[in-house]
Amino acid sequence: DGLAADFEATVARGDRIEPRDWMPEKYRATLVRQVAQHAHSEIIGMQPEGNWITRAPSLRRKAILLAKVQDEAGHGLYLYSACETLGVSRQELTEKLVSGKQKYSSIFNYPTLSYADVGTIGWLVDGAAICNQVPLCRTSYGPYGRAMIRVCKEESFHQRQGYELLSTMMRGTDEQRAMVQESVDRFWWPALMMFGPPDADSPNTAQSMAWGIKRDTNDELRQKFVDMTVPQAAALGVTLPDPELRWDEERGHHDFGSPDWDEFMTVVKGGGPCNAQRIAHRRAAHEDGEWVRDAALAFAARSREQVRA
């Protein structure tokens, strides 16, 4: 069948599929799920850091944090737009998010318990996100790839800001250094889980890679992240909470321990410390805003009528 052959050829060449191109239904469905989950992660991801905007300890940090959370809203916007090119509206996706039918990255189900967490999220969580996302800039679906280019650029700016906050705090008081270490202790393992289950337990990876929606396996990305992060931790002066972590001369990589995959599954299934809170917050904002969105629609409809009349 010619359409399918064209599609396969385009993907194989590393060229991009565009919204008007034919695509297999499963490719579309997989993409919608992946892009929506990514968009939802940006939107839910506003909460853990947003939790500290009103308590930022300096005006400079307050401005940086507010701008960062604002960027996350912007990423959510681009990604929802990318999804709309696949025929699914933001409204539909939001309803799937607040009803728990679509997921978001589990990392955001952990609480932020000190201002150091703002730095740690920038450094480790955005760092892990970048490892996941940089390959997606070359992903086969055009609108997604282009959105990812912009997202990745901003994320790496956020990562540097997070690292810079931690590094400033490490040059501060003993209490501040302890805050940073405590924060890293809490976020290290959840950050490693961001790459998803071990390859052996990740059945969809092969198809996604064939379609060019995914470019590296979970374990490859995880290794890359660990290798990248260990020297940064040393430069900061923090200890990563893994007694098995060490340089393996032969492999040319770091060996490291295994995250608690039971905890991962618990969080995925809704039993994380903040799952219910995050969804409830999003749902409340969505419901509280309904009358405003309705007013905007009614006003726009009336304005259009007046223009016609």
Binding site: I43, M46, Q47, G50, I53, T54, R55, A56, P57, S58, L59, R60, R61, K62, A63, L66, A67, V69, Q70, A73, G74, G76, L77, Y80, R90, Y115, L165, T168, M169, R171, G172, T173, E175, Q176, H281, A284, A285, D288, G289, E290, W291, V292, R293, D294, A295, A296, L297, A298, F299, R302
Partner: protein, 266 residues
């Protein structure tokens, strides 16, 4: 210099406290576009606050609260995080709670219209720094006012529910409007020196703009019997450090981390 510093604190505190309130909308706005727009406005005001607090500290270092010897906290942060509510000089309207989107929109319309009128005059200030801050601020606050004005008219003419909410919002915001035009002696002094603006001189202009927006929206300003002006406390208002009960709660949250680490670096 003491007058200039005190005057900068007033405008700086308005921006700082209002930015804080606006930032509370983050992740809670009716739609992503508004989440972004409100964060933008909050960021603009935070930027203005930083410049104004820094100008105040430079003009008269004695306004900066003293911190333990060797503290790395810069003057703008000492002013923001280490003053108590009674030392804040913002008008009470900017500290009031956000309420729903109709209340927040109405308040933003009023505050932006008023601040824009002040900043426009401040582009002629005899203080070059204040002049530069005002030139930048005029562009920003023009956008704030337009954003609020568009939403105000949209809500007024959107649905029955949005109009009902807007009508309910007006009497919550209007009682704090008179205070915006009340001249504090330090404002009078700053105006006399040519550095500042006497807010009484923008009264007519601001009310005319608001009347125009209300007329476009098809609404009346609330009458003074149903929604009387909120009076002073012991003869003073926000500019005298006499605030509502909400400000000390707002500051308890805003200042908690900074105060726990007076020797901290961030």
């Amino acid at each position: 210099a003491a007058t200039l510093a005190a005057y900068c604190l007033m405008l700086g505190d308005d921006a700082l406290v209002y930015s804080h309130r606006l930032s509370q909308w983050t992740s809670r706005a009716p739609d992503l576009e508004d989440d972004i727009a409100l964060a933008n406005i909050a960021l603009d005001l935070l930027g203005q606050a930083r410049l104004l607090l820094a100008r105040a500290a430079a003009a008269d270092p004695s306004v900066v609260p003293s911190l333990p010897a060797g503290s790395p906290v810069p003057p703008e942060d000492a002013l923001a995080f280490f003053r108590d509510d009674a030392a804040f000089r913002n008008v009470r309207l900017v500290e009031s709670e956000n309420g729903d989107f109709a209340v927040s929109t109405t308040r933003l319309l009023v505050v932006a219209t008023w601040r824009l009128a002040l900043l426009e005059r401040l582009t002629q200030s005899t203080d070059a720094v204040l002049r530069a801050i005002a030139v930048k601020g005029v562009k920003e606050v023009t956008y704030h006012r337009d954003y609020a004005g568009r939403w105000f008219v949209t809500l007024a003419q959107g649905t029955a529910e949005s109009r009902r909410r807007l009508e309910a919002a007006l009497p919550l915001v209007w009682p704090l409007v008179d205070e915006l035009f009340r001249t504090h002696p330090l404002e009078a002094a700053a105006a006399a020196q040519g550095v500042g603006v006497d807010p009484a001189t923008v009264d007519d202009e601001v009310r005319a703009v608001l009347a125009h927006v209300l007329a476009t929206a098809g609404l009346d300003a609330p009458d003074a019997t149903a929604a009387p002006s909120i009076g002073p406390v012991a003869g003073g208002t926000g500019r005298d450090g006499r605030h509502g009960e909400v400000l000390s709660r707002l500051l308890a949250e805003m200042q908690v981390v900074a105060r726990a680490h007076p020797m901290g670096r961030w």
